[in-house]
Amino acid sequence: MSEQVVDSADVVLRLSDVVKTFPGVRALDGVELEVRAGEVHCLLGQNGAGKSTLIKVLAGVHRPDSGRVEWLGEQVEFSGPQAAMKAGIATIYQELDLVDYLTVAENIYLGHEPRSFGFVHKGQAARQAAELLGRLGHGEIPAGRMVKSLPAAGKQIVSMARALSHSAKLIIMDEPSAVLAHDEVDNLFRIIRELTAQGIAVVYISHRLEEIREIGDRVTVLKDGRTSAVNLPARSTPTRDLVSRMTGRSIEYVFPERPNTAPGERLLEVRGLGRSGEFTHVDLDVHAGEIVGIAGLVGSGRSEVLETIFGARQAEAGTVVMNGKTLPPGNVAAAVRAGIGMAPEERKSQALLLGEPIYRNMTLTTFPGYATAGFTDAGKEQSEALRVADQLELRPRDVRRAVRTLSGGNQQKVVVGRWLLGDTRLLILDEPTRGVDVGARAELYQVIRDLAANGVGVLLVSSEVPEVLGLSDRVLVMREGRVVRSAPATELNEEDVLDLVMAGSLTAATTEEVAA
């Protein structure tokens, strides 16, 4: 605390006890953050820890429910992204928000073009844009070029020039290195160093510990929507400390006990599965009654593998065999007929009809089965849905209510329930507990374990390593589109898996050996 008092003059941004809740989940649950002028402040945390929500609060996209946001010493509440931008906070999102069919200069000055009487001074905009690009060491990017024709790294430079055009005092970068090649990352770091030398503060988000060590000054670690550590020195904090702050849990998840029974016959056999640019040579088996978990970061190809097995994406190489039958690639209906069900990653956009009643969401796959000559049987659908709802302890028990009104955990139960109504022998779960609060998680774990006990094979993906380890019988670790490790869950521990999962971590060399 004494340290903060000394440096308080330099502090540009201070968050205290910031809370932000979404339906059914506390995304931010008391977050602290302190950013000084001219520093690179790194945000570290697993997926779902609240990093994106925090960025959006800073960028004025979300408003905090409570807590203080102090910007340049004054308490502020941004009415929207424009207000934050005007105040001097610029955000460079992972998915760059540039307009493809405008020129570099037009993008940089989008919304605040130099103009008089409504006429844009194109020449002036181009000159100023070229100047900003020069300041970033990239004078070679022509201001008049269409943004669409630039590579990802070039677009990132344009985004940064746009931030400078707003005379930003704080630039937030959300995983900027994810889209860059190795030498481009060096260039990014050079630019960041020049920005900070001019007194601009940078909030830098990355999964790669080595980058944080190279560019970062201080680190704030988020975990489950809370800050588990603030202002750690980026270079000298041991990796073990950082990793344990990210993973150590305030609430111990209770995982159901693994039964001692051996898994049954082989249900799913995947061989040599691949899609260019996403993943290659994926082999995996799932047996009846077995839970197989895949650990990996976003972009490691884990979700893509699941969707390809299910037929939502078309396989380019390899085979998927279910119950001895080879599935046609890219055919969801065939996968469903073969007894595969999937609860996709984005519940709301990929799985649910939010305005429709619970029972209709549950019977979305099976409703033709209850129908007679094409006429649906709402009564039968409701009673069947209620049976499964009770089995899953769905709350509320009223299956005629709109799914929109349910909490995240109960929405997930509706999706799982959909497949329980059918004759599903293999259930694929992509991030089954995302957006699910702690209490409901334990219930979902029990549901998944019970399913396995009844002979259903389960293939799941989670960004949360402890969840994969605690729930699965067997674990695959994926990184950059390849399976780098496959072992029984009992032979792995959390920190080893995290090391494997994080590309470029300190033990990268050993990871490569394991893969080979």
């Binding site: 979404f22 339906p23 059914g24 004054e74 308490q75 502020v76 509440e77 009415s79 299910f310 939502a312 969801v332 209906a333 996968a335 469903v336 007929r337 999937m342 996709p344 709301k348 956009s349 990929q350 799985a351 649910l352 009809l353 939010l354 305005g355 429709e356 009643p357 209709r360 979305l364 796959t365 409703f367 033709p368 129908a371 094409g374 006429f375 649906t376 709350r395 509320p396 028990r397 009223d398 005629r400 209510r401 709109a402 929109r404 009104t405 349910l406 909490s407 959909r418 609060d437």
Partner: protein
């Protein structure tokens, strides 16, 4: 896609904020009929009935002479319904297409094409059955082409049906040689004059089509698929529903309705021409929208669409009996569409959220100014 999902998040915010997870269980125990989705539709339809009553009252005020005799009043109502009949049938098909997440701009042109094709000398030689069959086959066939282009050719519905609009009008003009084709068939021509228990046959056809449409939408797997695909196409696909095949059928259904409407219009005019049913697509879309069908898909009712059509028809009638020019009539129609959509949006952003936003922002804005 992303825009829509953001909207969804906004929409549900007030709901979820209203009752937390533990409380919602208790709330749900009681009957919640007033939150029922179909009840919501019922309130909207009552609103449209209110509009109809208001139009009726205005008519009675400006032309008391016409409203002095009960026979004249009933007669005028039948005129309103008869004028709504063909466009109403088209609107039923349009409602399915829009609920399924699409749009069909070609309906007016398909009516013209079906009508012209059904009244060529060659077709008329096959008698009324041949004419009806031709009209329906042409409508369904053209609808299937729309569906193929959209579902399998991956054209945007707006573009595919716009192209069909232009092409079908052109084909109709080519077939008819830009001449009005008189229907010499007594059976077809008598349809518009026929009455059953005092109700014009065309009105009965509309009611039958709407009734079948209601059953199809609310009681069959076809209707369930339509709602699912329009509400969330990705979710429907991942649930194993054949989204493309069904999308194609929706446009074929719209084409079928156009074929039926073509016969009805041919009967009314005892002729067909390439310029028939102009701008019907806009009237049908507008009627569906003011009837509560979401233009983004996933929600809508046949009854609402039916009321929408009748409201428009009643306005036309009101202006006719008041001897007002059609220009004014079109301006009023435009205003009604805007008001209806504004009401629709208000329902989604919901009054509570509106109030809360203002309750929140005022004091906060104050603090910002002070500091």
């Amino acid at each position: 896609m992303s825009v829509r999902s953001e909207e969804t998040v906004k929409r549900e915010a007030p709901d979820a904020g209203g009752h937390g997870a533990p409380a919602s269980g208790a709330v749900a125990a009681g009957p919640r009929w007033w939150r029922n989705e179909s009840a919501e539709g019922m309130w909207r339809n009552l609103g449209l009935v209110g509009v109809l009553l208001a139009l009726f009252a205005i008519g009675a005020i400006i032309r008391p002479d016409l409203y002095s005799n009960i026979d004249w009043v009933t007669n005028n109502m039948m005129v309103i319904l008869t004028q709504a009949a063909a466009i109403g049938v088209v609107t039923v098909g349009m409602t399915f297409v829009i609920i399924g997440g699409g749009i069909d701009l070609s309906v007016g042109a398909l009516i013209a094409l079906s009508g012209v094709w059904a009244t060529t000398v060659a077709t008329q030689s096959f008698g009324p059955a041949g004419m009806i069959f031709t009209a329906i086959a042409v409508g369904v066939g053209a609808g299937l082409v729309n569906g193929l282009l959209i579902a399998y050719g991956r054209l945007v519905p707006f573009i595919a049906t716009l192209a069909m609009l232009v092409a079908a009008r052109g084909l109709a003009a080519a077939i008819s040689g830009k001449q009005t084709q008189v229907s010499g068939d007594q059976f077809i021509n008598s349809l518009a004059k026929e009455r059953v228990l005092g109700v014009p046959l065309l009105v009965i056809i509309l009611l039958v089509v709407a009734g079948l449409g209601w059953v199809l939408l609310n009681r069959t797997t076809f209707g369930r698929r339509t709602v699912a695909i329009g509400g969330n196409a990705e979710a429907a696909r991942l649930a194993g529903i054949n989204v493309r095949g069904h999308t194609m059928l929706l446009y074929a259904l719209s084409g079928l309705c156009c074929g039926i409407a073509a016969i009805m219009l041919t009967s009314l005019a005892t002729s067909s021409q390439a310029a028939a049913a102009e701008l019907y697509e806009l009237d049908a879309i507008a009627a569906a929208i003011i009837g509560g069908t979401l233009l983004s898909g996933g929600r809508g009712t046949i009854v609402g669409s039916l009321f929408g059509v009748i409201v428009f028809s009643a306005i036309t009638n009101l202006f006719a009996i008041a001897n007002l020019p059609t220009e004014v009539q079109n301006m009023v129609k435009g205003a009604i569409i805007v008001v209806a959509v504004l009401i629709q949006q208000l329902r989604f952003s919901s009054v509570t959220q509106f109030a809360r936003r203002h309750g929140l922002s005022r004091p906060k804005a104050g603090t910002q100014q002070q500091t």
